[in-house]
Amino acid sequence: MRFGTRRMVFLSLLISLGTALHLVEALLPLPLPFPGVKLGLANIVTLLALHLFGLREGMTVSLMRVLLGSLLSGMFLSPGFLLGMSGAIFSTLLMSALLKHSSCFSMIGISMAGAAAHNSGQLLAASLLLQSTALLLYLPLLLLAGIPSGIFTGYLLNSLLQHHKKSGILSDFFEQNSFNDRRN
């Protein structure tokens, strides 16, 4: 834990940002007839943590986001919470695996795969919860809906990272010396 405090502060920021996005998104009604379809904006934060740090930090951000979001919206331990938890675990694991091959994929592809894994994980938990495999018939529709939202969040993250590459806005938080360098 060399950069302990700095990293903790940054992760906390990411978690609160993710929680805020999670809650704002729950307020946005999408004019679609399918339940469970949403933008997945909070995924940006998970993917950012995975990219900047690694699996452990990404998983922490993602799980804490789901936990805090459910507590704040009063859905802790509800079926929706369990589905979200399972989706978050699946998508974080898959995105972390794909990030190891980030030469093949940009953030758009990884985010798309994350959306697909999130939906699959959710439906898997739902069918376990309801003891019925009939729900899996819904998977193709959810996968289809996940493609545009995956592209959208991936595009946002790509832009953020490009901006970071140019201006280094994020470096203060996870590079030990950048802060002091600028002061001296």
Binding site: S78, M112, P140, L144
Partner: protein
């Protein structure tokens, strides 16, 4: 977008559209016909009549309850208690029921009318 992104996009699109098309063309009839509705009438816990819904013509059944005969009316796929000798008339005032899981209860007569069948919903979550 890199080459890998495009490949992934193509695979996802292909898989989801193909399987959507396949599933919904094969199972569209199956998902609609799965609700076999029936009205189950029981007195003192014993089933006395089972009527498959919907019925073609409006019918009235006389059910012998604990406090006398009651008349149950069935029209289409809904059921009501038309006449009952009980003092409270709660069962009559309840009106028509027709959704799976709904029921009419006459406490003095110990008559229970229940609509059975597959619910249109498997479960509800938010």
């Amino acid at each position: 977008m890199t080459k890998g992104d495009k490949l992934l996009l193509a695979v996802l699109l292909l898989f989801s559209t193909l399987s959507t098309g396949l599933l919904y063309s094969r199972f569209s009839s199956f998902s609609r016909s799965s609700s076999a509705l029936q009205a189950v009438i029981s007195v003192h816990g014993d089933v006395v009549r089972t009527v498959s819904l919907p019925v073609a013509t409006r019918t009235a059944l006389t059910v012998q309850g604990r406090v006398g005969p009651s008349i149950v009316e069935i029209e289409g796929s809904r059921v009501r208690m038309r006449e009952a000798p009980c003092p409270g008339r709660i069962c009559i005032n309840q009106g028509w029921v027709g959704q799976p899981g709904q029921s009419i209860v006459c406490m003095p007569g110990e008559i229970l009318i229940r609509i059975e069948g597959a619910s249109p919903l498997d479960g509800v979550t938010r």
